[in-house]
């Protein structure tokens, strides 16, 4: 089958751009699988896992923190609020972010946007989950330091 072009762009940078066979994305109405020649679609994304499948290569797992996806028959464009590949996720930072978000939600200090804190919590949980699973399958050795958030 002819591949489909996939671009994953976060606010800070282009995270991924290549021809792929399938994209699995966390749509607002549920997990979506996109194959080439998919009907035109525009959807909101929730924080979750994005999987990119390519022939002859391992699946690529990414954590996305919400955003939008536009699908055309020959291309998928994902405009993410944040996106990192599993091997780029910094576990310590994600853990710290989770604790911060939890604390905010627990204490609810004035001036804190609760909805934002909830999204932040969701995002950090997704990051942790994906990073932990990735580390587990690699015996804890990640390729490392590339592409950390600035």
């Amino acid at each position: 089958m002819s591949p489909i072009r996939c671009d994953v762009v976060s606010v800070e940078r282009t995270v991924f751009s290549d021809d792929v066979d399938m994209v699995l994305a966390p749509g607002i109405e549920g997990q979506l699988g996109i194959l080439p020649h998919h009907a035109p679609l525009m959807t909101a994304l929730v924080p979750g896992e994005l999987i990119i499948r390519r022939a002859g290569q391992e699946d690529l797992h990414m954590a996305v923190g919400g955003g939008f996806m536009e699908v055309r028959p020959d291309r998928v464009t994902i405009l993410a609020d944040s996106a990192e590949r599993a091997d780029e996720i910094d576990l310590e930072r994600a853990e710290a972010a989770r604790q911060r978000a939890e604390q905010r939600l627990r204490e609810r200090p004035p001036g804190v946007d609760i909805a934002r804190a909830e999204t932040a919590l969701k995002r950090s949980q997704v990051r942790l989950k994906i990073a932990r699973r990735y580390k587990a399958t690699r015996g804890g050795v990640g390729p490392g330091e590339s592409g950390r958030e600035p």
């Binding site: 976060s10 800070e12 940078r13 749509g27 035109p40 679609l41 525009m42 959807t43 909101a44 464009t77």
Partner: protein, 294 residues
């Protein structure tokens, strides 16, 4: 011929200027690096967002009269709005004047009533001095702006378009190409320009999840804001690049001038010494002749 002392004073003055230019060059160079990096790394998102916006606009256009969102509305253009990005400060070569000239040429060529939002003190000062219609001004935007710094501008532009005060909104900003080249650019922000690309879906029925209204309500204002933000980043990177280059030129010119002045100073000094020697020799000669005559 200036005296040696006058030239020396002049050299001191030029040397001061060179030092100031050098300091400003260094500051601009470091700001420039940061601004360029920020601009280039957020550019892909802005470009993709624009592509998505345009494809949505196309869908809306093909929708046969059903208006999916007010920001997609194509009206007869009676009033034009322009957001003009300039710097707060000068000493950056022709950066500000190039942008202002391009923007003014543009609005005049439209032959329609227009009004302008001035972002940046230089543009504001110019427009006010020459009596252009400025409806709002935003100055003092930091060198590393966040979305929050720009969202009032976006709010204003989007509201004015929605209530019909403006039927088209343009961005006039200097787009960053590289350190030596920056290009004043006019881009239509609203209503979104639909583009026809090959390979784009021809069917009207895009699937929207959760539904068209919810998606467009979220996407359109947000991506529009993003374009306004990116234009600011481009403008800042261009400004710092232009300033760095202008200051480098100033420093080099000053250094050349110092070399020239030093040469004339030495000449003047030598001439003075020669003259003195001649005086002494002449005096001594006169003295010996006088003694011999006795």
């Amino acid at each position: 011929m200036a005296t040696a002392r006058e030239i020396r004073r002049r050299i001191r003055g030029v040397r001061n200027t060179a030092q100031i230019a050098k300091a400003m060059e260094t500051v601009a160079a470091s700001k420039m690096r940061r601004a360029q990096q920020q601009t280039l790394s957020s550019r892909p998102y802005a470009e993709k967002a624009l592509a998505v916006l345009r494809s949505l606009a196309r869908q809306a256009h093909a929708g046969g009269g059903v208006l999916l969102h007010p920001l997609l509305e194509q009206r007869e253009i009676k009033n034009i709005g322009l957001i003009l990005y300039t710097a707060d400060r000068g000493l950056c070569g022709a950066f500000n004047s190039n942008m202002i000239r391009k923007a003014i040429d543009f609005v005049k060529a439209q032959e329609k009533p227009y009004s302008i939002i001035a972002v940046g003190r230089k543009g504001r000062d110019f427009l006010v001095r020459y009596g252009f219609p400025v409806v709002a001004e935003f100055t003092g935007i930091p060198d590393r702006p966040t979305m929050a710094d720009l969202s009032p501008i976006a709010r204003l532009a989007i509201d004015d378009f929605q209530v019909g005060r403006w039927d088209a909104v343009y961005l006039a900003y200097t787009s960053f190409v590289n350190t030596l080249v920056q290009r004043p650019t006019i881009m239509r922000l609203l209503p979104l320009e639909p583009v026809w690309e090959s390979g784009m879906p021809t069917s009207v029925d895009y699937i929207y999840e959760p539904n068209p209204q919810a998606i467009l309500n979220q996407v359109l204002p947000r991506f529009t804001e993003r374009e306004i933000y990116q234009a600011m980043l481009e403008s800042i990177a261009s400004e710092q690049s232009a300033r760095m280059v202008a200051m480098r030129n100033a420093r080099e010119a000053a250094t050349d001038l110092i070399a020239e002045l030093t040469l004339s100073y030495n000449k003047a000094r030598q001439e003075a010494i020669t003259k003195e020697l001649l005086d002494i020799a002449g005096g001594a000669e006169a003295l010996t002749q006088a003694m011999r005559a006795q």
